[in-house]
């Protein structure tokens, strides 16, 4: 059988070493190249990850012992509001959009995203939104609040956000930042969907597309449906605050519960917006390091798509304590429990992919192994929370905080670290250090478990989230101290990561086209890929074009 990909490899040249290079800053500011935009998204998210991390550490110091006076309640309330908003809107979304931007065109054999200018626009709008949020520290001073960050919590429940309870402009900064971030997210989501639907290379039917673009397709579709209501709600809130409308103004007959519905119809699909790309990374890494094809590709696609649909009908499990009544609660218990079925299918398929393989424990795979166990636990604590009466106890307690950090850190961040180690060679042409990577992995793993395993306990002992201090007699002190100590290990792990990122760029081993002996199209082009990605449009005959190339005697195309 012909292997047209070969032609693509043979003819793809290294980027031309042209005459005088244009100003570097100018190049990056004006670029519409999906790879450069992707990297900017990632760099921007890493900066905010640092900021959000510092906020978390300040909170952990305050909570390490009972009756602590390290920071004031006002500052603490700003910290958790900014931490949540930053991590969700200015770390999670951009870093995943960044990887998507970089990888999707390369994996489907395209030269760029469908709308390069929209891509740049979306990035810069999101970037501006993040700066706007933080400008509140200087600019939010109105008549009442002098230079204050938002302090209404990242889900900003009405009517705490009403002008009467939140004077000054800090809430306006929050509203505008989230609104603009929504505009950017919807733009990028539109781009991802269009790119995947319209720009696949020859022979790449939907059923031959790698799982990463599949999951990004589901993720981006969810962004449309989920981010739009949130963005609309920001406009409604601004109208409430400035022209006297009464959507959420309970003192004039508005509804606090309406805001909750708006927020969580965004908020829960958002969890899947963040976790589907993490699944996508694991879907690429686990097969390559197990040396086996993904087990049950059609089931994985079906599970991802059904997760997308079901995730739209589970939002009110964040509202089990609102008093929706037995009928409403029962419906959302069922929908929430059902979503564990397709999620379980994914875990089982990863397990079956490993089964019978030859597992190589390189750093990307180590992080994926961490992901698999931690995501399993996160799913199981999720089942506990889905049983509404159990949630009446656990909801809004530290148990919930521990649960969703198991998802966001233990699952999503671990998968993202795996993705960094896996694709760094493609992006830079250099390998990351395995030794430093192992240090990063183990320190971060220990820190993660110290922090987030032990964080479940104060929740079970009745500690609500978002309190700036607590009494000594509640039996929460020791647990919170351990949680704080775990943060030290996480920081140490992160230092190894950052050092590795920088050092490998200058001193890393040359990576070549395909350091992991992988199977998808991005490994067919040079590292780093040229601006145009593919010199000629590749043609694929199966889900693993490079496998076919390497094993002409036994190509995948014979089996699909």
């Amino acid at each position: 059988m012909a292997t047209p990909v070969l032609e693509a490899i043979d003819q793809t040249q290294a980027p031309p070493q042209g005459p005088p290079r244009p100003n570097v800053i100018y190049t990056w500011l004006t670029t519409v190249d999906h790879k450069k935009i992707g990297l900017m998204y990632i760099a921007y998210a890493l900066v905010f990850l640092l900021v959000g991390g510092v906020e978390a550490i300040l909170m952990r110091i305050q909570l390490a012992v009972p009756n602590n006076h390290f920071i004031s309640p006002q500052v603490f309330n700003q910290l958790f509001t900014m931490h949540g908003t930053t991590m969700v809107f200015f770390v999670g979304m951009p870093i995943l959009f960044g990887f998507g931007n970089y990888l999707v065109p390369l994996m489907i054999g395209a030269r760029d995203m469908a709308f390069p200018r929209l891509n740049a626009f979306s990035f810069w709008v999101s970037a501006f939104a993040g700066l706007l949020l933080y400008f509140s520290y200087f600019g939010a001073s109105g008549l009442y609040a002098a230079g204050s960050a938002p302090d209404v919590g990242w889900f900003a429940y009405a009517p705490l956000t009403a002008k009467v309870f939140s004077p000054g402009h800090s809430t306006d900064y929050w509203t505008l930042a989230v609104f603009l971030s929504g505009v950017g997210s919807i733009g990028t989501a539109l781009n991802i969907v269009t790119t995947i639907l319209c720009m696949r290379c020859k022979g790449m039917k939907m059923s031959r597309m790698p799982l990463l673009p599949w999951l990004y397709l589901v993720m981006a579709s969810l962004v449309f449906v989920a981010v739009s209501p949130l963005t609309a709600a920001q406009i409604m809130l601004t109208l409430d605050r400035y022209i006297g409308s009464h959507f959420f103004d309970t003192q004039a007959g508005g509804s606090a519960v309406l805001w909750m519905h708006f927020f969580w119809i965004f908020g829960h699909p958002e969890v899947y917006v963040l976790v589907l790309p993490a699944f996508a990374f694991v879907n690429e890494i686990v097969p390559v390091f197990s040396r086996k094809a993904m087990f049950g590709y059609p089931a994985m696609v079906a599970a991802s798509v059904s997760i997308g649909f079901i995730s739209l009908s589970v939002w009110a499990h964040h509202m089990f304590t609102v008093g929706l009544g037995a009928a409403g609660n029962t419906f959302f218990v069922f929908a929430t429990m059902v979503i564990s079925v397709p999620t379980g299918i994914k875990i089982f398929n990863w397990l079956a992919t490993i089964w019978g393989g030859k597992v190589i424990f390189a750093t990307p795979m180590m992080f994926c192994v961490g992901f698999l166990f931690q995501f399993l636990i996160a799913g199981l604590t999720g089942i506990m929370l889905s049983a509404a009466p159990f949630d009446w106890q656990l909801g809004n307690s530290y148990f919930v905080v521990a649960h969703f950090h198991y998802v966001l850190v233990g699952s999503i961040l671990f998968a993202i670290f795996g993705a960094f180690y896996y694709w760094y060679p493609k992006v830079t042409g250099k390998m990351m250090s395995e030794t430093l990577g192992k240090w990063h992995f183990w320190l971060f793993l220990i820190g993660f478990h110290l922090t987030f395993d032990f964080m479940h306990v104060p929740g079970l002992l009745g500690m609500p989230r978002r309190i700036y201090t607590y009494e000594a007699g509640r039996g929460w002190g020791g647990w919170n101290l351990i949680v704080g100590i775990g943060a030290i290990f996480q920081v140490a792990g992160l230092l190894f990561f950052v050092y590795n990122l920088v050092r490998s760029y200058y001193r890393g081993k040359e990576a070549g086209h395909d350091p992991w002996d992988a199977w998808t199209l991005e490994w067919a082009v040079p590292s780093p890929p040229p601006v145009y990605n593919f010199a000629i449009e590749p043609t694929v005959n199966s889900r693993r074009p490079l496998w076919d190339l390497k094993h002409p005697e036994d190509p995948d195309s014979d089996y699909e």
Partner: protein, 334 residues
């Protein structure tokens, strides 16, 4: 990785007045029963799936002695996919039906006739309790009668908020229920044993969310009746033999105190802050944040921000003499 399971066990034994695994009333017991089932099922799943995963990773690790050949490529199996779809569905159905039973048992049973009714009103950052059948208004310390099988007297809480959303959570008695403005929620509790049950607001409600504490005093029917009859009386006004308290009353009634606080039987009829008619009977002030003693009371009146920064009560800027007088007066409001 399996740290979590022992942690649950440790929790069950941990000493905390707010441990959800130490239920003391029917709703909390129902939840406890359900939680034990859910915990066993999820722990079972963890052992099976986590065990298989660990086994696969060890058994199928790459060994230096391995041949260079790629392992056999297996693309999937519909039978296997079907089995690991159907088995989880069965588990989900079982958990769903059990959960539904607890929901119905807690939220959908008809209200009996013989209940103690209390209206709970959440404020930034304190609790108002009104007993419409008894004509009592009090704050921050909820007194209820015990309720046992022989003599059932469940307490029904009808809840709303005067400002932003709060949540009523006393873990040993029941799960939490949000207290939302412009909306009425209900819940019920029925502790059989007398005692003090602690909790706190569980929905972020502003600067002092952390010190919006809950104290529920379950009392034998006799003790409760005694407490209630004392609460029904108007405030102490006869201070013969205690000129300091009498002078304090005058200072109190001539200051802005009366705009926000009620002292039943006097000109003080404000509704913005807690009712002070029987303040001296309470164990705590500032929504449970500090003990109710003259020293704390004086500090509180002088400047609430020293104890609870962000509290909506303003510093009254009284001179030391007036502070002493008002403190003397308030400590007499039995």
């Amino acid at each position: 990785m399996a740290f979590l399971a022992p942690l649950f066990a440790v929790t069950a034994l941990a000493q905390s007045p707010t441990n959800i695994f130490a239920p003391a009333a029917t709703p909390a017991h129902s939840i406890f029963g359900l939680s034990m089932l859910v915990l066993s099922v999820t722990f079972g799943i963890f052992l099976v799936v986590g065990g298989l995963l660990l086994y696969a990773l060890i058994r199928y690790r790459h060994r230096p002695t391995d041949s260079d050949h790629e392992p056999a490529q297996i693309y999937g199996s519909n039978q296997i996919e079907l089995s690991w779809t159907v088995i989880p569905i069965l588990i989900v159905v079982m958990l769903f039906l059990t959960t539904t039973r607890v929901i119905l048992r807690t939220e959908a049973i008809p209200k009996p006739d013989n209940t103690m009714d209390v209206t709970v009103i959440g404020h930034q950052f304190w609790w108002e309790y009104r007993y419409p059948k008894l004509g009592i208004v009090t704050a921050n310390e909820l007194h209820i009668p015990t309720s046992d099988k022989a003599n059932p007297k469940p307490t029904y809480l009808t809840m709303s908020s005067a400002d932003v959303s709060h949540s009523f959570w006393v873990p040993r008695l029941a799960g939490k229920m949000d207290v939302i403005p412009n909306r009425v929620n209900t819940m019920w509790i029925d502790p059989p044993d007398a005692g003090l049950y602690l909790g706190q607001c569980a929905q972020y409600c502003g600067t002092q969310h952390a010190k919006m504490l809950l104290r529920v005093y379950a009392q034998s029917p006799e003790d409760f009746a005694a407490w209630a009859s004392q609460q029904q009386k108007p405030a102490q006004q006869d201070f013969t033999g205690n000129p300091t308290a009498a002078a304090g009353q005058t200072v109190f009634m001539h200051n802005a105190c009366i705009n926000c606080h009620t002292v039943k039987g006097t000109v003080a009829t404000g509704r913005f802050g807690p009712d002070l008619t029987h303040l001296a009977i309470r164990d705590t002030i500032a929504a449970g944040a500090v003990q109710n003693n003259p020293e704390n009371l004086r500090r509180w009146i002088d400047d609430p921000n020293t104890m609870k920064p962000g509290s909506l009560m303003p510093a009254m800027h009284l001179n030391d003499h007036d502070l002493d007088l008002i403190t003397a007066y308030l400590t007499q409001l039995h």
